[in-house]
């Protein structure tokens, strides 16, 4: 680890007088195992990559350059390119590098077990779950892919403003789908687990969950009735929270490209809605102690009792907003190639009840399990939601008939305002910075 921080720190002397410089270095290793039906291993991937991103601030102009060439010449070239880019940028009084803040290592986000797990054990996890899925119910005879993935990331940030921090975190994922075939056609759903200790994976539960979710969509068709309460599966809630998180982020808010622009202090949801972001949360795959400009991550309340009270910021977006705004430790980069932007780390709706209580309260309801078209159909700018969803009728808390594809035509505020209950079955949603739970929405939310 110290090697990476030394690498980042070693770039700082390349700053010219009057320039500020930040070096972000990352070293990422990962393993992927993919298995098909019956546990046939298709792919095993091992990866190791390093890179550096350089932000150069010349008074009020910022430039960025990145490289995978970590030689002295490669790093010097990146500084030169960032300087050229800064020269072509417009002056912006808001751009700034963060100043150092103490990092409190209160959460353990690294498990040494991850780096010691042998490859064959990882292959075994993928093949085991792939085999189990087709042994549970005769209606499930195949899968597309069962996948094991783990990732270890070391990041280091050093800047001429005094930041000098490093972090190490990692996680493991196991997922599988299940394909069900009937005379009505084929359907598929998946299950997913994420954590830091592969020893905690309950493979039996994970396989059963994928099968159960698929079979729910295979039961005989039911007619959708309007005016019923709507239960949203974690997958559906996750898609909606992604857009809400984007709308609560500094860049869109300051530019007005947010459905929540100008709504700070306003009621945007039901009184039961409390939305937080906490990038240190151990249940989140990408949890880390520091954000991608070296600021300690923290918990930020975005919606409190239905009222919009917070926003997610980097150092620069906070300065752009002005007033008392300051960074919330939400600078995110996809890789070292991208400059930091304000974005959620781990959004979570605070639970109000258990899942059993929620399902009992729902009674006869519409349950939406999968959403399609969410990437393009849910707009964080206008707030409009136009997507499709697959689900089933819920009678007395039990699935009773697959519904035809249901239109989810609403808007983000209407969704938040309709929330009656949030269950405590919180789980990470794959590929998005969201920890989602089952939600009960009021009758009439969907037309």
């Amino acid at each position: 680890m110290a090697e990476l921080l030394d690498l980042a720190s070693g770039i700082l002397p390349l700053a010219a007088p009057g320039e500020e410089l930040e070096a972000y270095a990352v070293h990422r290793t990962s393993t992927t195992v993919q298995a098909g039906t019956g546990g046939v291993v298709r792919n095993v991937g091992k990866a190791e990559a390093r890179g550096v991103g350089v932000r150069l601030l010349a008074r009020t102009r910022m430039g960025y350059a990145s490289t995978a060439d970590l030689s002295r010449a490669g790093l010097a070239d990146a500084v030169v390119r960032s300087r050229q880019n800064a020269a072509a940028a417009d002056p912006d009084e808001a751009v700034a590098l963060p100043t150092p803040e103490p990092v409190i290592a209160a959460t353990q986000l690294w498990n040494e077990v991850l780096s010691q797990l042998p490859l064959e054990a990882k292959v075994g996890l993928a093949t085991d779950i792939a085999r189990r899925v087709t042994m549970i119910d005769p209606q499930i005879r195949s899968i597309d892919t069962a996948e094991y993935y783990d990732e270890s990331v070391v990041t280091a940030v050093a800047s001429t403003s005094g930041v000098r921090v490093e972090d190490r975190h990692g996680y493991v994922e196991l997922s599988t789908d299940a394909i069900g075939e009937s005379t009505d056609g084929s359907v598929a759903d998946y299950s997913y687990w994420c954590g830091r200790d592969p020893g905690l994976i309950d493979i039996e539960w994970l396989a059963a969950e994928a099968v159960s979710r698929t079979i729910r969509l295979m039961c005989s068709s039911a007619k959708r009735l309007t005016g019923l309460p709507v239960v949203l599966d974690r997958a559906v809630v996750g898609s909606l929270l992604v857009a809400i998180g984007r709308a609560c982020s500094g860049g869109p808010l300051s530019s007005g490209r947010s459905a929540f622009a100008d709504l700070h202090g306003s009621l945007v949801g039901a009184a039961s809605v409390n939305l937080m972001d906490d990038g240190r949360c151990p249940a989140a795959p990408a949890a880390a102690l520091i954000d991608d400009e070296g600021v300690p991550r923290r918990s930020t309340t975005l919606i409190d009792g239905g009222v919009l009270v917070g926003a997610l910021h980097t150092t620069t977006t906070a300065r752009a907003i002005g007033g008392n705004a300051r960074t919330t430790g939400n600078a995110r980069r996809i890789t070292h190639r991208s400059s930091p932007r304000a974005a959620p780390s781990a959004l979570v709706l605070q639970p109000t009840c258990s899942l059993a209580q929620l399902l009992a309260a729902a009674g006869d309801a519409t349950y939406l399990q999968q959403v399609t078209g969410s990437q393009s159909g849910i707009s964080s700018v206008t707030g409009r939601v136009n997507a499709g969803a697959m689900g089933f009728r819920l009678r007395a808390g039990e699935p009773s008939g697959r519904l035809p594809t249901t239109a989810v035509a609403t808007n983000l505020q209407a969704f938040l305002s309709s929330i009656l209950m949030v269950a405590d079955d919180i789980l990470a949603v794959p590929d998005v910075p969201v920890l989602a739970a089952t939600v009960l929405c009021a009758p009439g939310w969907l037309p």
Binding site: K46, G256, P447
Partner: protein, 469 residues
Amino acid sequence: MNELPVDDDDLGAVLWSALRAGGHWAEVFLERRSTETLRLAGGGVAEIRSDLDLGAGVRVVTSGRAGYAYTNIVTRRSLVEAAEAAAIASGAASSVRAERPVDLRQRTVSPAQHAQRAPADVTSPEKVALLRRVDAAARGRSIQVRDVTATHVDVTQSMLVATTDSGIARDQRVRTRLTCQVTARRDGRMQTGFDGPGIGGGMELYKGDAPETIGVRAAERAVRALDGIEPPNGRLPVVLGPSGGGLLLHEACGHGLEADALTHGGSIYARTIGDLVGSELITAVDDPGIAGGFGSYGIDDEGAEARRTVLLDRGIQLGALSDRSNPVTGTTGTSANGRRASYADPPLARMSNTYIRPGSSSAQDVLGSVVDGIYVARLRGGDVDVTSGEFAFTAAEASLIEDGGIGRPLLSLSLLGNGPDALRSVEAVADDLSFVQALCGKEGQWVPVSYGSPTLLLGGITVTGSGGG
């Protein structure tokens, strides 16, 4: 830029080390990539960044199991280590190593992308000046335009693929794209407009008054949407404008015809090869060899020379998009559709430039044939479940069809349906083929693609709106 820091002797050593470790077949994918991104937002330069990347992925297959390892430390030693790691990951055992020669013949293939004016020859201030023209044109279109974000991205890539059995092939790729997103606001209502052309080429994208045209087009879309009315709900005839049908083909059919989905049994098209799955008016093609296409290449990312694949021939499911890992039963090997986002990713079967061939009707005749329906000029995007074929698309720009022409604009709406059902419902195909450029995501890998279509009439498809706002 074009020089890759590894010679044939190095490549031979890497491939041989994979075989020596017990692998049956091995491949090296090596690339150098330069990416420049400039973003103008809020009237000023919001971001300028440049990236230089160099790395290699090594794939080894042993008894059908693939091992993959990559590194961005490109030395002979690190590549050999990657090859050995990939061999172990493939389950290879060095005790049963194969003694076979490595094929290092050079294969010459012409690139499909070429820059008339290389992005590297244009300075950042010159690129910023082009973005300012886009911004000014968009803002000048209407006082209702509140925000403009214009982004220029150019990517220049040199790559090679060397395999133990088919020699060494090289490709040069260059692509340039400009996207313009406009936000318009009036009386508390906010709408967005977008335009995002790209080419498999260089700065010629901006020739003439292209910057102004693109800015105005995005602004007009945003401003027009402010007048949008709630769309009707229900099953309606839908006319998809040029390009809209391309996305429908890409999402609702193309992904289902990718070999991994077909061979693993997850695709709704897995059991319909040779069947009529679409209207007889539909002939659909994937062609990575289109000169200057945004999704074009001379060789795919497994070294196979680009070739055209007919997916649907007058509605009959004919071809599939395959890579080396997933040859489809009834086809001959790879269709040269093995693609990867970078050296960090193993190849997947992917589309390139996918389109529906033009018909003989005029677009006006197609529109005029509809009494009560909607016209969708552009789709913003959508998802499809390849197993069930169910899809949901969002229209970025739609209007009522009134008096046989394009009428009042509609607020955003969804089109819900099933891929094969939608393709079977095509009742007319116009002659105005047009392409849209995009990045397509699959398993976390994003690759450049284009999709195209002439204007299409779909007899009935579920339309839903009422999203408020």
